[in-house]
Structures are given as structure tokens and as C-alpha cells.
Amino acid sequence: MSSNKLTIALSKGRMQEDALAMFARAGIVVDESELNSRKLIIDSRDGQYSFVLVKPGDVPTYVEYGVADAGICGHDVLLESCAGVHEPLDLKFGRCRIAVAARREVVGKPYNLLATVRVATKYPRIATQYFHAKGVPIEVINLSGSVELAPLLGLSDRIVDLVETGRTLKENGLEVIEEITESTARLIVNRASFHLKRDAVRALISQLTEILEKE
């Protein structure tokens, strides 16, 4: 029988801080000294949880393969990964939108003179699905950062990207055309761990549910 200790994958960066704050409110505390260390795997004070800190896009992978029993990542990342995991809780923090944006001057105008729209994005799957659902053929240009740059330099007609406040877009002369979906942080659970570590998973879900209901 496997142990009842849960391994939880967290997205490095801001979502990690929000997630750990939520865990702390649920009584699952990670010591400051652990956090300040350079360890990639850190334990909670009570030893019941271990947290692995990974790049946001990798969280679903760790959980799908079961090396982490659970994880916290944005809904956007889940949509893009199509990982086969359970998604029992919307944790409400990390709220942002995935949106289509373009240079302000071309909003409302046809994409370009050609049939195919060039779309720069970090979310090739979400972008393809969205445009194909509208019957618009696209060429996806896969970028790993500074996606806003693409329309400015003429690399693409549109971008599909995460929008939090919209400030970066605005300062670069871009405008949101359409919102594809809203994203918040989600708790995800491996399908096998859901059964094999049932009691621990159940306890985690109910502790977090309690916090969510309080807030």
C-alpha cells in the first residue's frame, strides 16, 4: 500500500505564492526557511505534503503521469495541455482572461488580404480550436514570450494571450477583440491517486473547500 503523503505540483511564481497562502489558511504550512532554500521539493511542516515547484505549463504533466498526486495551475494551462486529470476545485485566485488581441488600428477590419490569419501565441491548441470553431483558417506562430511584439513587428495579424490588467496590451497599442475564456487557479488530481490515496485526497479537497466557502 502506498503511503498517504501527498505530492503536490505548484506553478512557480505568483501562483505558487497564492497557492501556499491558501494552504497556510487551511493549516498546511511550509516553513519560510524551506521556501528560501533552493530546493525544488519542499515538505510541509507536518510532513503530510511535499510540494514540487515546476514551470506552470508542466504542472498538468506531473499530475497526469502521477509523479505528483495533485497540482495547482491555471485553467488556461489545463486547456492547452488536455491532460487527463480530475479538476475538483476552482480556487478562484489567479484570475485572468485568455483573449484575442490585435493592433488598435486594425480592430474591426478584415484580418488581412489573404485567407489565412497569422496568430502568434503561447497557446497553439486554444488558438487553433477557437479560430477553427469560427471557421477561420489560421497559421499558428508559436512564441514562448513577449507575444505582444508579434503584431507590432508584423509577424502576426492577431495574438492569443493571457490578459490580466490589459496594461501591457494598451502600452503597446494593442486592444482585446474577444475574450476566449476566463481562467483561474484549479486544483487538479491524478486519476490513480484519486483512488489509491483516497483518504488523503479527500481530506485535501475538503480542507480547501472549507477555505473557499469561508471566503
Binding site: 502521477g66 509523479v67 490513480a192 491517486s193 483512488h195 483516497r198 473557499l212
Partner: protein, 372 residues
Amino acid sequence: MSSLTKIPAGVQYFFDEEVKLRRHVERRAMEIFAGWSYDEIILPMFDYHDLFARGMGDEKAERTYRFVDRDGALLALRPELTSLVARTVATRFKRKPRPVRLCYSGEVFRYDEPTERAAREFYQLGVEHIGQPDIVADIEVLLVAAEVLSSLGLRGFRIALSHVDFFNGVADFLTLDAGRRAELRELIDRRNSLALDRFLQAHAAQIEPARRAGFSRLIQLAGKEDAIQRAREILLNQRSREAIDHLARIYATLTELGLAENFDIDLGDTGGLEYYTGLTFKVYVPHWGVEIGGGGRYDNLIGNFGEAEPAVGFSFALDGLVGAVARNASPPPELGANGAPPVSCEGDLANAFRQARGLREQEKRVKIRVQQ
């Protein structure tokens, strides 16, 4: 890129110890199937595409590797084995006494979008039990599956049981259209109780709040008798009730057999609704993040090929079984040493081979070391 080093996505080569382990696992499983009186059936690697479409539905048959026969007919590499078994039973086995018990082992080929990393070639081991509609057959196949797992040393395995009519009953009761039904199913699969509760509030105002909340919680809580008990408290109609009664009887028998530890009731499992008609189950083992097998009752399949007949079966993914054994169980002794070390046959060409042939007559292991 050189075709000498490049390998097509999703196919695999196996060698050395892994081959021995795979063959060991396969042999063990097939011995156990035979031990429960399942006769092996060897099936063709490809057949008409239409056959698979008839068996599994157009959508699944879309994921096959297809090619054209010399006469222009569309063929497909087999994406699963059950349709081939079902067709055989419906046609060639018409006169055989029921139930028919068959087992198989072999590769299937599927192109599964959208995971590029996914395998395209899978090796499956499974059984089909055909012609018996009742709980006896359901329990029998569960016990066969459990024996395979425990005989491979996979203690701590979990088989999660569900029943399609639990979900179908709920959906009937709520009188949802196809779109809403799909939405409900997705919420259940995510195990998102809060979202499910909101969904029910919006689309099923007729259910009293306590029952609604009970249902929403239920999908998050796989369990033992407690799960059956909770389900009874919120049951909505006859169809769901019969599903739960069926699961309860199965579970009671498993408990009497001392197997309760290895079985769960999981009413949040909504997989295979298009295909299964009764009991469904999925198999999990520690340190292997995905299910390594599953099955259920499919009373509608054989009717696609002839006279309708009840059937229940399951299959294991050999990759999953082997991976689980490699991570969880100590390797079987015959894999470690692989018998006695070979006898070297050296020296003069004819003498060395004569010596080797003599040893082979005694079934000894030999290795030729003649240098020219």
C-alpha cells in the same frame, strides 16, 4: 533525418530484460485466463474498416490507421480486439454452447489525438465472457482481473467499480438535452462538486437542495459500502436504483471473498457511456499514474454483428502491467538468472557443434565460441 535513426512517433522497440519481463507478464496473465477456462483466440492484424466502425462507432474508427486493399476496399489496422471477437462469436460461434469464454493477447494500433507523446501501438491482454447476462459473469471477470494483478505481486491494486445506469438514470430524471448531458458528464468527470451543484441549481430546480448537495458530494467521494449508502440516500429513479442494487450485490460478494480492500465504488466514473451497458471498472496500481486496465458489460455490441447477446469483458494494457510490476513488485526469480549460465562450445568447428548438439539434446543452454 536518417531513416536509420528515426523511429515513427508512438512505436517502440523492446530488448534485453524488458522483453523477458513483458513475456513473463503476458504468460502469467494468459495462464490465469486459461485457468478460468478462457480459450485463446488469435485475431487478424487488420480487417475491414467498416467492421471496426460497426463495433466501436464511427468516431473511434476514425482513429485507425487505414489503407486500401487491392480491390479498393478500405482496411484498418485493428484499433481494438473486442469487435473482432464479437463478430467471430456472432457468426462462426453461433452454434457453440453459451457462455463463450475467450481471451486474447496482441497489439492494437490507434492514432489518439491530441497527445503527441502518446503511444500509437498498444499491447493488450483481455477476456470476453459472452452469452450470460447476469451478475455471475460480472463477478467472474472481476475475479479473473484481480487474480492477474495479485499473481504479478501487485499488492495495493485498486479496481474502481461503476455502473453506467447510475449516470444515465440521473440524466433521465433531469430530462437534459444532449448538450446539457455532455456538460453534466464533464463536470462529474472533473469531480468538481461546487460547479456540479451550481449546474444542478440552474438546470434541475425540481430536486430538493439536500439531495442535490448529496449528489454533488457523491461524485467526489469514491468509497466502499459508505459510497453505496450515500448513493441510496439521493437516488432519483428506478434506473439509478437498479444500478446501485447491482453494484451493492457485487460488492457484498467481493467482501465475502475477503477482497473488499482491493475494490472501490466510484459513481463519478462516466467513461465509456456510449459503449457499456452495465457494470464498468477501471484498474489502478500504486506508482503508475494512469489506469492499467478496465472493462465492463457491453450487451449491445454483439447485436451489431448478428443476434444480440449479453457480454462482459476487460483488457489490460501490457505496458501498464509491466511498468507497474517493474515499479512495485520484486522481479520474478527466473528473470534474474534466466536459468543456468550457458555452456561454451569451443575448439574445432565440427567438434564444437557436435558438443553443442549433444548438450541441446539434453535441453542445456549453449553458446558457440568457435573462432575461424
